[in-house]
Amino acid sequence: MATSDMGDIQVAERALQHHFADMEQQRDTASFGMWMFLLTEIMFFGGLFCAYLVYRASYYHAFVEGSQKMNITLGATNTAVLICSSLTMALGVRAAQMGKPKLMVILLLVTILFGFGFLGIKAVEYHEHWVNHEFPGPSFHFETGDPAHPATDPQHTEIYFSLYWAMTGLHALHMVIGIGLVAWLVIAGLMGAYTPHYYNPVENVGLYWHFVDLVWIYLFPMLYLISKKHGG
């Protein structure tokens, strides 16, 4: 036990960059840096949230009609998938903290699996919208599917779909990057890069992953739920 601890500390010391006084400063700095980065990410999505708010406030009907086309079952399933992936991610970080690299690798692999699961379900939804011409642009065509209630404001429903694709697309892009980052952790983890003394990358990628989950937690109700129309 003692020798392995010494080894851990050596790994950690190799990971200490020259301009930091000690590991604690390095860890705090890395973590704060990651939080600052997530702050910029919030503002990045913030521009889209702002557009959504403005148009939803102005063209309520169009947004209601657009959100009728959302598949709530798939959306809710995806929310659950992401929450599960967040759990495995959090447990993975915990395994790294406790010095259980194998457990960490397994948990991270499960996280990746959930990530692909999310993207797969999203792809099914995208395909559905695509074949229904619910993709903004010249080929956009919108029908409510109910002859008694033709589309009242297809123009602004198109904006709803523009925002839907932009927001979920950007979110999916973040998922893809996240999967890449977790894969990198898996490889580094297999090579024994992380110890209880040094696991900043795991922690930071974890923060990133949870943030992407967080964005979806808002996207799901905004796009799928709150414009739902009731009673016909």
Binding site: D8, M23, E24, R27, D28, S31, F32, W35, M36, L38, L39, I42, M43, G46, G47, F49, C50, L53, V54, A57, S58, I72, A76, T79, A80, I83, C84, S86, L87, M89, A90, L91, R94, Q97, M98, G99, P196, H197, Y198, Y199, E203, G206, L207, H210, F211, D213, L214, I217, Y218, F220, P221, M222, Y224, L225, I226, K228, H230, G231
Partner: protein
């Protein structure tokens, strides 16, 4: 090492696995709730409910999964700053959109 209560590793705080599972369970339950609530027509309250539930979920993720609860004050300040600036962007933009239709000829 046995899994018991709160542990502290060489660096940083380690939360118990049970806590993570509990948070996961709450999040899943809330997801189910928000879907069910959206199926019932309660007027403007639908929006309120959806956003309140999303905010509860988000807060749980940030506090526990992202360890904000165990993080330095500076990290909390960062999160508060993010919320504040997002609020500025949204609210000041809406000052325009919400008042555009207000009459300007009140004096006539």
């Amino acid at each position: 090492m046995a899994e018991h209560k709160e542990e502290t590793g060489p660096v940083g705080h380690i939360a118990p696995a049970k806590l993570y599972v509990a948070i996961w369970a709450i999040l899943t339950a809330l997801t189910l709730t928000t879907v069910l609530v959206s199926l019932v027509d309660i007027g403007p309250l639908n929006v309120v409910a959806a956003l309140v539930i999303a905010t509860i979920k988000g807060t749980l993720v940030v506090l526990f999964f992202m360890h904000l609860r165990y993080s330095p004050k500076l990290t909390m300040a960062t999160v508060v700053a993010a919320m504040f600036w997002l609020f500025l962007l949204l609210s000041l933009t809406m000052t325009d959109y919400l008042t555009r239709a207000w009459p300007t000829n009140l004096g006539h």
